[in-house]
């Protein structure tokens, strides 16, 4: 007997409810940000208007928003796939970074396609050990994947300075990739990389695959109820490994696309934490394809608009950190409840 009136809603109100829940964190963030702005003597409405204009007010700004959203589409999707299988992979950052370095290095010598493939393989490599540890010994993947991020950060730093450093550059960076190996821009001169198309195609594939493929089915069931899945003959350990490897491949490909399409080399500051923002994207988007796109665009818009807003206002970047930080707090609460 059902006690909770929400447990059997019709479809319309269910969509409304989940839409409402997705918007709540953002509204609260706006309110908190507004309070901070008021307290520091700024006009919140004017600032929010500015943010909207800087996010979507014109082709160049939309290009900037999508450009900032692109790495988040990759990392959000990579995270969502693992989460969907019930694996809390927080190592997407590491996959993205190693994928970026590998892609940038391989593309130098072997071109665009090889760079992308190598990047994806590097991402697979990063997620392989935590995947095996989780599937074989049930070692908590949160710990192992988090640690793998640190290992990758140290490894890439060492590889660059010891072997891959560009000549004539004081800072830690690999050589500039030749133009022939770049991912082409979509909207010259606004610099929107075609990596965004790769990401969107992957998201669409994910939407279909997770719903209609045999493996997607097993992945969903494993995430919803691993005990049930095991009892029905789904090889849960194998599904977990596969989900982690796919997650790693997408993360690594994202890094390669970022290197080949945007930065054109691997440098210090290659990823300002795309993998971690990707966790928030996946959580807010409830691991769905549409949700990942919306979440990535939201954080992308905040990042790009928050930067250029400084051209028109004295309000420091910190206020944008307050906004995205508040949204992330909700994402973390959701993570905690999922766990």
């Amino acid at each position: 007997m059902s006690v909770c009136p929400r447990s059997n809603p019709d479809k319309y109100s269910r969509v409304l409810t989940s839409g409402f829940r997705a918007v709540v964190p953002f509204v609260i963030a706006l309110v908190i940000g507004g309070a901070v702005l008021l307290a520091t003597g700024h006009n919140p409405l004017a600032f929010y208007q500015l943010l909207v204009r800087e996010s979507f007010g014109g082709t160049d700004r939309i290009a900037a928003t999508l450009s900032a959203a692109t790495p988040l589409l990759f990392t959000g999707l990579a995270t969502a796939i693992a989460f969907r299988a019930g694996v809390f992979n927080v190592g997407v950052e590491g996959g993205f970074v190693l994928g970026g370095l590998t892609g940038a290095t391989v593309a130098l010598h072997a071109g665009l396609l090889a760079g992308c493939v190598a990047g994806a393989l590097a991402g697979v490599l990063v997620s392989a050990l935590p995947a095996w540890l989780k599937a074989r010994w049930n070692v908590d993947e949160v710990v192992t994947t988090l640690m793998s991020n640190f290992v990758v950060a140290g490894l890439t730093g060492w590889l660059v300075t010891a072997f891959l450093q560009a000549k004539g550059v004081a800072n830690s960076a690999t050589p500039l990739i030749p133009r022939s190996a770049w991912l082409p821009d979509l909207l010259p001169p606004y610099g929107l990389t075609s990596g965004v198309l790769i990401a969107l195609v992957l998201v669409m594939l994910y939407a279909v695959w997770i719903k209609h493929s045999v493996l997607g089915y097993e992945l969903r069931q494993t995430g919803l109820n691993p005990r049930f899945s095991a009892a029905q003959g789904i090889r849960v350990g194998r599904v977990i490994i596969v989900s982690m490897l796919i997650s790693g491949a997408i993360a690594g490909l994202g890094g390669a696309a970022h290197a080949l399409g945007v930065v054109h080399r691997f440098v210090d500051g290659f990823s300002p934490g795309y993998g971690f923002t990707g966790i928030a994207v996946a959580l807010l988007g409830r691991n769905s394809a549409v949700g990942v796109v919306l979440g990535a665009v939201l954080f992308g818009a905040l990042a790009s608009a928050g930067t250029t807003a400084q051209l028109f206002s004295d309000i420091p970047l910190d206020i944008v950190d307050v906004l995205s930080g508040t949204v992330m707090v909700f994402a973390v609460i959701r993570l905690w409840r999922q766990r």
Binding site: R220, L224, F228, G233
Partner: protein, 487 residues
């Protein structure tokens, strides 16, 4: 004062579901009043309203002949009403005495007066005729003992009306007897008991009056003397029910299952082998080893093939079916759709080049669900939205549709109402008569005796003995379950 607790024309709806519709009951002081009905008949909703956990859309609760409005459980407790829930809320690392007085400890100054607490506990227990190991940890005692402590706790908080929601669901037969004795003791001590159940025999054994709910409405309230087993069942289900009773197997064939290990047994084709034992005697381990969810401790064969080291999917492919005893977390995926629940395990055969065809999935699910009379709206609805009985039909359908050579059925009728139970029993017998073997693990003695051709009794993880099926074995099983040899 005649009506201690009651409802007057109470209605309560959840969305389109009318859980209670114009329900009126009168529970007289100093009686044991049973509320019976199928799953989904509205019993639990009514009890929650009577206790103050839920409020009716219309109608009122009546206490001591007066209409009252209960705003929450605190109001219920204030009126001397106590609820013993199905899921007991006790702290396992505390002793029974500590759990009893938790939150209302007798104090002398700043310190807890344990001597007085113990005295109060003993007095309370003797008044209703039970003896309890007060210094044992709650974790270390049986669920039946914990339930008794829960009852005493309600009494200690001043309740003289006790509502027990399906109290026998998790109890072994001997423990049920203890509980019924305790309920009679409560009545003799002048307390009022509201007893919710769908088990006809228990109700007839202990109640003074019986209210039958069906489809959210009261069908009748009658003194127990006016009813017998058959008439009560027919009132509950609203139609005549044919009980098959014990029908032994006609033909048995070769062994479809052999298990050698800490527990050794075999099942032949065309045979139902029951497994009895008090909870925790090794049934779960046996089931998990046969299914492949636990590493083997010996050799297991299925239809002559050694499956000891095969994973679950290979065992299923070799002809194994499995009805889990834990429907909510293993038998079904509650948040997955009915279609996804139905195709689980068969999904690979529905796929083509790694893709599932939505129409084929839907057709398969519809065929199975319709074939096993599951009441559902769409195949995309999540399993959680179905009633317990319907959920179990999904499991039964999924497992039986594949025509397994061996079916492992653990508690196949747990939480299922009378009609559902007879349905499932008939299906299991039909499977057997078709030449399959069934390994039936159940806590319900009646079910084992009715269905099984042979019954293996477990005690302490070992086989304590074997008896033939049929009602004559009841006493022998009870003895073996306790680890004694039948005389």
């Amino acid at each position: 004062m005649s009506v201690r607790l009651g409802a007057r024309d109470v209605s309560r709806a959840f969305g389109p579901v009318r859980a209670n519709e114009g329900v009126s009951v009168e529970i007289r002081a100093g009686t044991v009043h049973a509320v019976v009905g199928e799953n989904g008949a509205g019993k639990t909703t009514l009890m929650r309203i009577l206790y103050g956990l839920d409020q009716p859309d219309s109608g009122t609760v009546v206490i001591n002949d007066q209409p009252v409005r209960l705003r929450g459980p605190a109001d219920g407790i204030g009126h001397g009403i106590g609820l013993v829930p199905q899921e007991l809320a006790m702290i396992g690392s505390l002793t029974l005495l500590e759990n009893l007085v938790l939150g209302t400890e007798p104090r002398s100054g700043p310190r807890i007066d344990w001597a007085r607490a113990r005295g109060e506990a003993e007095e309370l227990a003797s008044r209703v005729g039970v003896e309890l190991p007060w210094t044992a940890l709650a974790d270390n005692v049986s669920i039946s003992v914990r339930q008794q402590v829960e009852i005493l706790r309600a009494l200690r908080r001043g309740a003289d009306v006790l509502i027990l929601d399906e109290p026998t669901a998790a109890l072994a037969p001997a423990q049920v007897d203890d509980l019924l004795r305790l309920l009679r003791g409560l009545r003799e001590a002048g307390r009022t008991v509201v007893f919710i159940s769908h088990k006809v025999d228990e109700v007839l054994a202990v109640a003074d009056e019986i209210t039958v709910l069906r489809g959210g409405k009261v069908i009748t309230t009658r003194p127990v003397g006016d009813l017998d087993r058959t008439s009560l069942i027919e009132l509950i289900v609203g139609q005549q029910v044919g009980f098959t009773g014990f029908v032994p197997s006609a033909v048995t064939g070769d062994e479809v299952l052999t298990v050698a290990g800490s527990v050794s047994l075999s099942v032949r084709a065309g045979e139902i082998v029951g497994v009895a034992g008090i909870a925790g005697s090794g049934q779960d381990e046996l089931v998990e080893r046969v299914v492949g969810l636990r590493p083997p401790d010996g050799r297991i064969t299925l239809a002559g093939q050694d499956i000891s080291t095969l994973p679950v999917d290979r065992r299923r492919a070799a002809g194994l079916g499995y009805i889990s005893g834990d429907r909510r977390s293993e038998g079904l995926s509650m948040d997955a759709s009915l279609a996804d629940n139905t195709i689980a395990g068969t999904h690979r055969t529905l796929g083509r080049h790694g893709w599932l065809k939505p129409s084929a999935v839907r057709a398969y699910a519809k065929r199975v669900l319709d074939g096993y009379s599951v009441r559902y709206g769409r195949t995309t609805a999540v399993a959680r939205t179905l009633s317990g009985g319907n959920q179990q039909r999904v499991v039964i359908g999924r497992e039986l549709d594949r025509d397994p050579k061996l079916l492992v059925a653990a508690g196949p009728t747990r939480g299922v109402d009378v009609l559902g139970m007879t349905y499932i029993h008939d299906k299991l017998r039909a499977l057997r008569d078709n030449g399959s073997g069934v390994l039936l693990v159940s806590e319900q003695l009646d079910e084992l005796l009715d269905l099984s051709d042979r019954i293996i009794v477990l005690h302490g993880g070992r086989v304590a003995g074997e008896v033939p099926g049929g009602p004559a074995s009841r006493t022998a099983i009870g003895t073996l379950m306790l680890g004694r040899t039948p005389s």
